[in-house]
Symmetry: C4
Subunit: 211 residues, 4 copies
């Protein structure tokens, strides 16, 4: 019990408890994931159908539903990463909090990037910006994790070095995949969004040993 | 006290605490239920009235308010089911978390399905898609519950077999009602949405003995 | 400590913990209060100004900002009431939960009612519907409180009868004020929204002795 | 342990626990920060491009993305201030709660002010209103803090006078910067938004000694 209270006390060391940071983070993730639904943005008023049936209109714009699903899953992956990173923290300091704020800024921008990709399918610029948004998110995660684990500054002693390295590798992989998508956006826009299918494969590979 | 702490420790066994999964889930449910209000979407600018009074316009589109209420109640039912399922979990594993993510993806899609049903009342395709969305949600719940309770993998030992079976039956019933609504959407669109009135009756029947 | 744990156990008696109901409720209130900002809905595109300056446009539509503030404060009052009611609960049962769901349905409808009042200022129908929404909320609160306190079914024994009665009176007063606003909407639309100023006065009067 | 429970009991002294106020506050901040993304409002439909490329359209309206980032960071700063202020409270009373409600009202208004600034860049009125919104937020914070710390009414005894004064100074500085931005909005609209760069500098100066 004492250990538990000591641990709690430590967590609030910086005057900034993990609890409320997680509450804000969960709120922003939940909201960004739900507001994605507004990015589907299929013209639904009867006048916009122009003689086509509802089924035709939806089928023609099915890629918007696919994009919705993809962005939702990517945000879920990032939310789980956030979860894993913060679960290993002993306490948080000002730098980590500001890193987290910048992370959330680009998380909250995802519905905009998704809408952009939805409005201009197979457009180099919109595909590039979507990939760029992911790259920034991956990069900030990597920097946060490096900062927190350097000399085990902010992480619990129970966390083994092997796991620190595996998390690092998976974050580098997400950055690399985003860069690949950014390049493909200008070369073969059609393949750009397919690259993201590599993310679950990479995550599964870097996490297979761990539980 | 020790028992309590041990139990807590167990819950966080997988490195993924129930607490933050519930926070994200509650956030997405709360937001999906509130953003439904945007799906009412009655043209309200003075210019769109075209000489009709406010009262006439609202009465003519009263079915949109009914749909809002129905979707709100269905989401509330699903939220309560989530609640009941997660209350019986000892701990969560990766598969359950990903199942939960897919569940939330279709929960967050409900405002879109509702808007679709609002824009094209008595249209076979939009009624079918609304029912299909419900069917997917019911199916994922059923799969999650089957997975969690198989050999009491993730549920507490105190949960009796009778309750496991009753929950299963009620989830199968929700799936069956959705399939019925999907069929009726093409046969008698008018009756399609009335089928959902069966859901509270079924829930009351399968839960009457419990509590 | 034991007392505390026993109390916790009691709270979860019905298989439905207060904690997650409060989380959903707080989420819906927070979101309804924030999404109100979308109901301000002042046409802001440069083309809609039609030669008027930004300042003129805003001044002409200042009543929308007043309505935003009023709805925000009313929701805050209802959130505080929710708080006070739930703080006195020993545990929750199914009926209370469903009452709460219906309450939240009309809370989440407030941004719609506010937008309606914003679009048609001094229109009898929109003023009536705004008042009607408030009336339903007040009525559900009254029914919830009556149900929970009858024979002290769900409330803690420490709650004295005097406080139960004062809370009842304040909820009846909110209903009465709403009915008055509903009538005035058809007689003197201009005075209809002024009636709400009575709410803080009544709340202050019924709560003055307590704390 | 006893001290801890006593402290908890004290926090709930007024019948209004800090916990749910923080939940509502975190929810409103999270939503306001995420809904900012809707204020970017770059016309994205293919028809609105009028022959310009996607890249050109985005570059021409890049200031909207800058405004998004700025408003997001300002809200993050205010959220952290809220955090710091509430962490030092022993308990909350009615006056503090109502002050907090008014604070949240202007926090939830930020997406509107940002949209206004986005639609009319370098317009005196919209820049003034954005600065005015910030000023009101800073002022309410200052009043809340003065009220809570006067005779250490609501704050913990462990809080030293030096920290109380430094927090006061930083809040006065935010108000002063907002007033400066309000004046500059009419003199040199271009410089008005640059003034906000002073906020992080001031915050860093008033907090440097602490931690």
């Amino acid at each position: 019990m004492h250990v538990f209270l000591l641990y709690m006390a430590k967590k609030e060391n910086s005057g900034l408890s993990c609890h409320r940071i997680e509450a804000l983070t969960d709120g922003i993730f939940a909201f960004a994931m739900t507001i994605l639904v507004l990015s589907i943005n299929i013209p639904l008023s009867s006048s916009s159908l122009e003689g086509k049936s509802v089924a035709d209109t939806l089928l023609m714009q099915a890629d918007k539903l696919v994009n919705y699903g993809m962005s939702f899953l990517l945000l879920a992956i990032f939310w789980l990463s956030h979860h894993r990173v913060f679960d290993h923290l002993k306490f948080v300091d000002s730098k980590l909090i500001w890193g987290n704020v910048f992370l959330l800024m680009f998380i909250a921008l995802m519905p905009f990037s998704t809408e952009l990709a939805n409005e201009f399918p197979r457009d180099s610029v919109s595909d590039f910006l979507f990939a760029f948004n992911l790259f920034i998110i991956g990069l900030i995660y990597y920097l946060l994790w490096s900062y927190a684990t350097k000399g085990r500054r902010l992480v619990k002693p129970s966390l083994d070095q092997d796991q620190i390295n595996r998390t690092k590798k998976s974050l580098i992989a997400i950055c690399a995949i985003s860069v690949l998508a950014m390049i493909l956006a200008f070369v073969h826009p059609i393949f750009s969004s397919m690259v993201y299918l590599l993310i679950p494969i990479v995550l599964w590979m870097t996490k297979s040993k761990n539980k």
